[in-house]
Subunit: 246 residues, 2 copies
């Protein structure tokens, strides 16, 4: 997960911090509206955000009544940015490598969440096992990743591609490392098929509750010019899975 | 489902009957090997095949010890071809329109199966409800359809396209009617996203047990030249779902 350090590369992260989702937070992330409808009522809940960045979702969860929130990220600069927001004793931020030293307590969380972080992980099966173990029975895990249609080709180019309605799909079934050209950098990600994600989740013991292949609709494309014309070809895929009660 | 009558169009079905899967049966269908591994042990089981064609899977199920098999299809010529095989009193074939007059008994079948038929249906939610109702609790439903990546564009051309490794994806999120150029005809199909299929299944009460996005691997491409170079871009998607016991 060394690739996550790109968020700590000053010249790259300067561009990243100019994105709507960094300037405006969740209001600047057009997929958030769809993603949050997958979350259960979090009043009084204990929440874990895996790859919390500067903590937009952690703070949102507290506004919605979460009792306790733990935000995990590998990026020092992101966590430093999180620390600039007014202190909330019910939110804890911790620097952790999700593939190495996560060490979550068993049956601790009601809801676990992750946005656009898990496509960085090579050892995703290990992470899914940790999520399963650390959720209470009946607990919910909601996450999204870049849609595999967008990552499949050998040299995906996000900055150009996201504006295109037609997207060439090649090497979709060849899972593994991709080097994505984005914001002038080469971001290292793991390409997995939708079936690949689902079979890992089922293998970890989860039950699929919902899935959405997301692209910006016409109105969103108007409000977020960055996403224009992405509506016909999905950009992200959202998963909601449940740890069965018995 | 009037479009299914293309199987009863003599000039089109002459070409269809020249395909490996019609000449050689299941041995001529490169995806069958993967699909059958999704099926449970069918010894003594009561089986329904939705869109059975000339009955390859019905006869295979009897070879594997199925107690009783019902094969349903809309095509008269396919059912006539099924009747040319040696009679087996444990196999019943019936002409039915899956969208109109299926009328399946409740909790009757152990396993229901469908291969490359359900992408014809407009009223797929209605069919899934019937499958759910007619399965015994704990029963299994295995089916495959053309992968939505292959059907997404406004004018998909199967005959050309299946040979291509790179496939242009457009209008993926726009579900609905597609006219697929195949074997010199225009076959009317319904494009649904993977999430679309899954949410209909979950909505009907099913639990996802397995999913596979299938393309021919290198060896299969050698054995089945028709499928050459399809390996990197999935051709079909296979689903296995279960009706929960309680």
């Amino acid at each position: 997960m060394g690739n996550l350090h790109i968020y700590d590369d000053p010249s790259w992260s300067r561009k990243y911090n100019e994105l709507d989702r960094q300037v405006h937070g969740l209001e600047g992330a057009p997929e958030w509206n769809a993603l949050r409808t997958m979350l259960p009522d979090i009043q009084g809940a204990n929440i874990l955000d895996l790859g919390c960045g500067c903590g937009w979702v952690c703070r949102w969860a507290r506004e919605k009544g979460a009792a306790k929130v733990l935000g995990i990220d590998l990026s020092e600069s992101m966590l430093a940015k999180a620390a600039e927001f007014p202190d909330d004793p019910a939110i804890t931020y911790a620097r952790r490598n999700m593939e190495e030293d996560l060490q979550l307590p068993a049956a601790e969380f009601d809801v676990e969440f992750s946005s656009l972080a898990l496509h960085y992980l090579v050892n995703l099966p290990g992470l899914f096992d940790q999520v399963y173990r650390s959720l209470k029975p009946g607990g919910v895990f909601v996450f999204d990743v870049i849609h595999p249609i967008r990552l499949a080709t050998e040299n995906p180019s996000w900055a150009e591609g996201v504006h295109r309605n037609e997207w060439p799909v090649d090497a979709y079934l060849v899972e593994g490392q991709r080097s994505l050209k984005w914001l002038g950098g080469n971001v290292q990600l793991q390409h997995r098929t939708i079936a690949g994600y689902l079979m890992l989740l089922i293998g970890a013991g989860f039950m699929l509750a919902a899935i959405e292949e997301w692209g910006a609709d016409e109105n969103q494309s108007k409000a977020f010019p960055y996403w224009i014309e992405s509506g016909h070809c999905p950009v992200f895929v959202h998963f909601k899975v449940v740890k069965p009660k018995s």
